[in-house]
């Protein structure tokens, strides 16, 4: 099991009467890509701001890289990078100048690093164009470049692919994958483009009204979102045995109500129902179901 680099325990954030975060707890392990999913005003940005040090929690504890005190957290942030809300940029400076300013601020000695990250995000040819004249996508790339400057171990990104064209989305996705696989960079990404998240994330956190609604791994989510058959008979035990012996279906879930759920052999449903009938099992219900990510998301956040 990989190391826990961020642990949030019962984090609370109150603005006046409003609870922006209400007892939020989760962990992030090294090497994971965590998708933070929730509607507008759910508390995603608040979590990121607290992690980044821009805001202070009202209650609870934040632990990053094993430290909880302010000095330690500041030091931990030097191993991280953040892109929260819209990227912060000097509009009257060029991309290169913006990055150079950040390079100096971070104390990165390598002057070539600016060119490297510009190339990574494909902004190396912007020349003297100032950021004021950039498109939304270009600004987003610049923000990502900024986030990559310090070769962080952990990146916290708030809607990083917002405004990118499809080509750009693919590029960035591949970049994230590469960073994660080759350099073991941990990421926490919030996005509304769930399909993109589903291609990238290893873990998911669903949040709404400041509360965690659910936490799943990618596998769990896949499971939750797959097609399946719901089988209910007068003798589910016998039915289960038939499925295993005759059709080799191993993955059979028995639900709380006693019904069965299978994810494999969905194309052989006719044979299955015939086999039931031949063995004296009367099927009460045989239905094909599907849960997609949006549905799952809507279900999670509405609870």
């Amino acid at each position: 099991m990989s190391e826990i680099i961020v642990e949030v325990k019962n984090l609370t954030k109150q603005y006046g009467r409003q609870m922006a975060l209400d007892g939020v707890s989760f962990q992030i392990r090294r090497g994971s890509i965590v998708g933070l999913i929730g509607p507008n005003g759910a508390g995603k940005t608040t979590i990121m701001k607290i992690m980044g040090g821009l805001a202070f929690p009202t209650g609870g504890e934040l632990e990053m890289y094993g430290v909880t005190d302010e000095k330690g957290l500041n030091h931990a942030r030097t191993r991280m990078s953040f892109m929260i809300e819209t990227p912060y940029e000097k509009e009257k400076m060029t991309a290169r100048e913006n990055l150079e300013k950040q390079r100096l601020q971070k104390g990165i000695p390598d002057k070539n690093r600016v060119d490297e990250v510009l190339k990574i995000v494909n902004l190396q040819n912007t020349g003297k164009k100032v950021v004021k004249n950039f498109s939304l996508g270009m600004r987003q790339r610049l923000g990502l470049a900024n986030a990559l400057m310090g070769k962080p171990e952990f990146m916290v990104l708030d809607e990083p692919i917002n405004g990118l064209d499809p080509e750009g989305i693919v590029e960035i996705r591949e970049l994230f994958r590469k960073l994660n696989k080759e350099e073991n960079v941990t990421m926490m990404i919030s996005s509304h483009i769930l399909s993109e998240l589903s291609l990238l994330c290893t873990d998911y956190i669903f949040i709404n009204h400041g509360k965690i609604k659910g936490m799943l791994t990618a596998d769990e989510l896949r499971q939750a979102c797959s097609e399946f058959f719901r089988i209910n008979t007068d003798n589910n035990e016998k039915a289960s045995a038939i499925l295993l012996r005759h059709f080799g279906i191993e993955r059979i879930e028995t639900m709380e109500d006693g019904s069965l759920r299978i994810y494999d052999g969905l194309e052989r449903m006719h044979e299955i129902s015939k086999a039931f009938y031949e063995n004296g099992i009367i099927p009460v219900e045989l239905s094909r179901n599907e849960v997609n990510l949006e549905d799952y998301y809507m279900k999670m956040v509405r609870e």
Partner: protein, 265 residues
């Protein structure tokens, strides 16, 4: 802290806004020195720049005060306007180093630049008309050097305000109001313990005790004569030093106390 200062310097140098602004103020001060000296010396005929400094004591601080406010506003607020300053926290710099990096840079560099501006009219006037004998040169030099201390104190106060308002435009407005107020404040200074408020301290350092009289001339009318005593009382020196250092430290402390738990959006 060092890195933050470097990044601010980089922006100042590349954007050149402040460089141009300083140049504009320098030109303004030079013109003030030229015209003020010409006026005080009847077209460079009689007297010298000391006549101008005695007649217009506000010269070394009225415009530099505005520049100082703009400079502090730029250094402390500009990056908060577009939230670029948030990166300092996000990158792991402590609130202490962020605050003191910006504030010390604003205070020290702002004070030095303001003092340079304050000296310009003196240098220009001296080059054109000589010193004259209205005031003693060494006394004025000491007074103008001491002027750095109330600048320091005022800059520290402005830094505290800047971190609260986080708007360079508001700081410009404050600077304009201060420059406009300074004339009215000169009348209040008689009723104030002058060293404890930096504006009054500046007035006390640049106004000279003395006597003035006049004669009536049938052609010109009233001709005024001034005799100034430019020696600086020991109490004013010690008061300026103590009050400035103490209040600068206090404002820095207060500004940091307000900033350390400030939530940034």
């Amino acid at each position: 802290m060092k890195n933050i200062m470097k990044s601010i310097w980089y922006e100042i140098y590349h954007r050149k806004t402040l460089v141009i602004l300083f140049g504009a103020f320098a030109a303004l001060m030079a013109i003030t020195g030229f015209s003020g000296t010409a006026d005080a010396t009847y077209g460079f005929e009689q007297g010298g720049v000391s006549d101008m400094l005695a007649a217009h004591p506000w010269v070394p601080y009225e415009f530099p005060l505005l520049f100082l406010t703009i400079f502090v506003g730029y250094v402390c607020c500009e990056d908060y306007k577009d939230k670029v300053a948030n990166y300092e926290i996000l990158f792991g710099h402590s609130r202490k180093s962020i605050y003191f990096a910006r504030s010390l840079m604003a205070i020290i560099v702002g004070t030095i630049l303001s003092m340079l501006l304050g000296f310009l009219p003196l240098l220009v006037g001296n080059a054109l008309a000589g010193w004259g004998d209205c005031l003693v040169y060494e006394d004025i030099l000491l007074r103008y050097l001491l002027l750095g201390l109330p600048y320091l104190r005022l800059a520290a106060f402005l830094v505290m305000i800047a971190f609260l308002v986080k708007s360079p435009y508001l700081m410009i407005g404050i600077g304009i109001i201060l420059s406009m107020m300074i004339g009215g404040l000169a009348d209040m200074v008689r009723h104030s313990s002058s060293v404890f408020v930096s504006l009054f301290n500046m007035i006390a350092l640049t106004e000279y005790e003395g006597w003035s009289s006049y004669n009536l001339d049938p052609t010109i009318g009233t001709i005024r004569y001034y005799a100034y005593d430019s020696t600086i009382p020991a109490g004013l020196v010690s008061g300026t030093i103590i009050a400035s250092l103490f209040m600068t430290a206090f404002y820095l402390f207060m500004g940091y106390a307000l900033f350390r738990r400030d939530e940034l959006n």
